[in-house]
């Protein structure tokens, strides 16, 4: 652990991926004992910059230096050698291997000469100690596949410390975490900072940024647009630096008490042990919030309602029709859609064109009797999506993978909305989305609701639920723990539902 002070600096970094210029002449320096946050819109190049600092990517131009000495980071292990460690957004622990082995991956200690055996005892002991030091109570002999994402992130922190790394970069660690988990992570970050570590941090959440950061740098379109110290934090200024314009975001929707027959009605939905006894209704024009921790069963419930996941019991009625046993295709056809939270895995098919992606939810309708697709309608739908959601692209035949994350998200949104659903379930619609795009998405949701669509928003962000929803259902342990409506939907009450749920 006898490291240098650890001033990590990048100067004049350029990076291109194929035809995409991701970083242009970016300079950044991370000082020891500070938490330096990187903010920016999707596609601004934040992750790429961190990956370059961690040796995963190599810059096309520019220089990285540590305490003034130039570094050649040709691969991640070179970075470890200099004490630099990147905690990825989605920790890549090896599922079938034990936690202890994961922590020592690539540096397993051995004993004996030839054949030198792996020293499992030391590994287990040191791994357990390192986790205990971070306050994580996990059996290190357990397979990594049994850990939650939050646990995995803490294991990643412990990995960094085990490698003697004093410069730890966190690539958007908090987006999959709940508030309580974020608290634990921040406590650990503070402790590391106190020990003189250099910490890099990426986040979209303004509260988190102001809570933890000592310094913030803002990236826009691959270039640094602003850098502020702790005393200069100003929400409006940071947002302006990110999006390049003023954004008003303390907007609040007029809450309505939707009337009329429920368009979606769920009774006794169950799939032990994940969730059970789930009853709820949604009415046309209503925005219903689903709050809950990751792992509370909210995503599973939504997927079961939409036919994406098996259920052991219960009924789902859509506009008076029983769809509990229908296939996903039929459910979409009947007017219920689920917009998944994991865009890259479930939402967009990167190598396919915008046209193919935008029409992917309604292939059945585009088919003529002969089975041949109606090309004209496909083009019309794709153009309409491009236009309505203001997708920035060369044309509808451009592969979706060439677009920025925000534009991909718009196509995902448009893909399901163009099927003209009666009910839409949006799972974390703003996850990993920057402030400017968030605002646009809120506006879209309200617009659709005003047109009479029933919308369910699943979110772990308190603010989002309060800004958007007419009614909020709190899910805990696979059950509906509380329901709030009308004037009850306040920060205090929704927050209490979280806390109340946790008290169980």
């Amino acid at each position: 652990m006898s490291r240098t002070s650890g001033l990590l600096a990048a100067a004049g970094i350029d990076k291109r991926f194929g035809a995409n210029s991701v970083l242009r002449n970016v300079s950044l320096s991370l000082a020891p004992g500070e938490v330096h946050t990187l903010m920016g819109e999707n596609g601004a190049g934040k992750s790429t910059l961190f990956r370059i600092l961690a040796g995963i990517h190599q810059p096309d131009a520019g220089q990285i230096s540590l305490d003034g000495a130039a570094l050649d980071l040709r691969n991640p292990s070179a970075a470890y050698g200099h004490g630099i460690y990147l905690v990825p957004q989605e920790p890549a622990l090896l599922k079938e291997l034990s936690v202890a082995e994961n922590m020592f991956l690539g540096m397993l200690p051995t004993r004996g000469r030839f054949p030198s055996r792996i020293d499992w005892k030391t590994i287990r002991g040191q791994a357990q100690d390192a986790l205990s030091a971070l306050g994580l109570d996990v059996d290190v002999r357990d397979d990594a596949k049994h850990l939650s994402i939050a646990q995995q992130q803490l294991v990643e922190c412990a990995k960094a410390l085990l490698r003697g790394c004093r410069i730890i970069l966190f690539d958007e660690p908090t987006s999959p975490l709940t508030g309580r988990e974020v608290g634990i992570l921040f406590a650990i970050m503070r402790r590391l900072r106190g020990q003189g570590c250099t910490l890099g941090f990426i986040s979209h959440r303004m509260e988190e940024v102001s809570e933890i950061s000592d310094r913030v740098s803002v990236l826009r379109d691959g270039a640094v647009t602003d850098e502020v110290g702790r005393d200069g934090f100003d929400r409006a200024r940071l947002v302006r630096a990110m999006v390049g314009r003023e954004v008003i975001f303390d907007r609040r929707r007029v809450r309505r008490e939707a009337q009329g027959e429920p368009v979606l009605s769920v009774r006794g939905l169950a799939h032990a042990p994940v969730f059970s006894g789930v009853d709820f209704d949604v009415r046309p024009g209503e925005i219903l919030g689903f709050s809950g921790l990751i792992g509370s069963g909210r995503t599973e419930i939504a997927e079961a309602v939409c036919g994406l996941r098996a259920k052991s019991g219960g009924s789902v009625m859509l506009a008076g029709r029983d769809i509990s046993t229908s296939s996903i295709g039929d459910i979409i056809e009947a007017g219920l859609v689920y917009v998944p939270e994991d865009r890259a895995r479930h939402g967009v098919i990167l190598p396919m064109s915008i046209r193919d992606n935008a029409t992917a939810g309604q292939i059945g309708r585009l088919q003529r009797k002969s089975g041949i697709l109606n090309r004209g309608r496909e083009i019309a739908i794709a153009n309409d999506t491009m236009h309505r959601y203001q997708v920035r692209a060369r044309g509808i035949d451009q592969p979706a993978g060439q677009l920025s994350g925000g534009n991909q998200q718009k196509i995902v949104f448009g893909k399901w909305m163009s099927t003209n659903p009666k009910v839409a379930i949006l799972d974390e619609p703003t996850r990993g989305v920057d402030v400017g795009a968030k605002d646009e998405i809120y506006r879209l949701i309200e617009e659709l609701s005003a047109q009479g669509m029933a919308i369910v928003v699943i979110s772990s962000e308190l603010e989002e639920l309060i800004v958007l929803c007419d009614r909020v259902i709190a899910i805990y342990g696979g059950k509906i723990a509380a329901e709030l409506k009308g004037a009850d939907v306040t920060a205090a009450r929704v927050g209490a539902a979280f806390l109340g749920a946790e008290a169980h």
Binding site: S77, L94, I118, V138, I149, G295
Partner: protein, 333 residues
């Protein structure tokens, strides 16, 4: 499919200590083997005779050796279809050298294994450097190496091998211990493979790559070199299996190995043994017992007077059963 959403415990404390699921496929297989031996033995007592049991074990050695290297390759999410061609070439080289030259066993053996290693190395290069999917890369080299065997043999075949070679294939290495040398060789190789996989860095790197090659690379493991080594070992072991084959049977033709579909059978026993085709997890003991099990079942079919044409169907059903049973057990989160 939805693994991202299945994490249910919170940080800081574990809801319940999870029972650590370890499927003990090798135990299941061992029990199944005994059941078959006892069951068929009850109907046909000669099935349980020492010589028949020795034969069943002995006839699984060649496949077992190839199965071990195939297990390593499958752990890396790969597959090696060229093993049968390497086996055939090595059998031919070994057999012809033993009859046409006066090279002693201890010279021919390393020579053949080195040749197998070189051929395996080419596979590794194709997979690790040129990024050719393993199934395609080894399909291509299967044709190439098979062709080499024909060119090398030039239409000749091996009908018998010199006595010391034959002794290697049939004799007992240790006097008074009634275990034939090939079985000892298999036990030695299997033990070494187990040690490498569980107690050496190289073995753990193989597992790490099978789990997530990108993460392994980021952790400083040289993915390409490890893959190269795995395919090289696969080639060397296949060549060794070829030697055992010739020494045991005393014969080799240009279609040895490829004609017997050793590549498919070695994959089959690895899967029967509980190795996951998706990589990251391997069961060496299962592979070895799987090869014995396969040989026992096929022999049992003979004893039960099932017509010979149905043996391969039995093999197919067995693979299906093994794989579906495995899927049942591991599909629970």
């Amino acid at each position: 499919m939805n693994s991202a959403a299945t994490a249910t415990s919170e940080p800081g404390h574990r809801a319940k200590p999870r029972p650590r699921r370890r499927e003990l496929r090798e135990v299941t297989l061992l029990v199944a083997t005994f059941v078959v031996v006892l069951g068929v033995g009850a109907l046909r007592p000669s099935f349980m005779s020492f010589s028949n049991i020795e034969f069943m074990v002995l006839s699984s050695v060649v496949l077992g050796l190839v199965g071990i290297s195939q297990t390593f390759v499958i752990i890396t999410r790969g597959i090696d279809l060229s093993v049968s061609a390497v086996l055939g070439l090595s059998a031919m080289v070994f057999g012809l050298l033993s009859t046409t030259s006066s090279m002693p066993l201890w010279q021919v053996l390393p020579l053949c294994m080195a040749m197998g290693a070189v051929l395996g190395c080419l596979n590794g290069f194709l997979v690790a450097w040129l990024k050719i999917p393993p199934i395609i890369a080894t399909l291509g080299t299967y044709s190439l190496y098979g062709g080499l065997t024909f060119i090398y043999s030039n239409g000749l075949q091996v009908d018998q091998v010199s006595p010391d070679f034959a002794a290697f294939g049939n004799g007992n290495l240790i006097p008074f211990l009634p275990v034939p040398t090939p079985v000892l060789a298999l036990i030695a190789v299997a033990t070494a493979a187990w040690f490498v996989l569980n107690h050496m860095k190289f073995g753990r790197n193989i597992l790490a790559i099978g789990n997530n090659a990108a993460a392994a690379y980021n952790a400083g493991i040289s993915v390409r070199r490890t893959l190269l080594a795995v395919y090289t070992i696969s080639g060397a072991l296949a060549a060794f299996a070829g030697l055992v084959f010739v020494a045991y049977t005393g014969s080799a033709t240009a279609t040895t190995g490829t004609g017997d579909h050793v590549e498919l059978q070695s994959i089959a026993i690895a899967l029967i043994g509980g190795t996951a085709i998706a990589g990251g997890r391997g069961n060496l003991a299962g592979t070895v017992i799987g090869s014995v099990f396969l040989s026992v079942v096929i022999t049992a079919l003979v004893f039960l007077q099932v017509p010979a044409i149905w043996y391969s169907a039995g093999e197919g059903l067995m693979i299906l059963a093994a794989v579906t049973l495995g899927a049942r057990r591991s599909s629970n989160p």
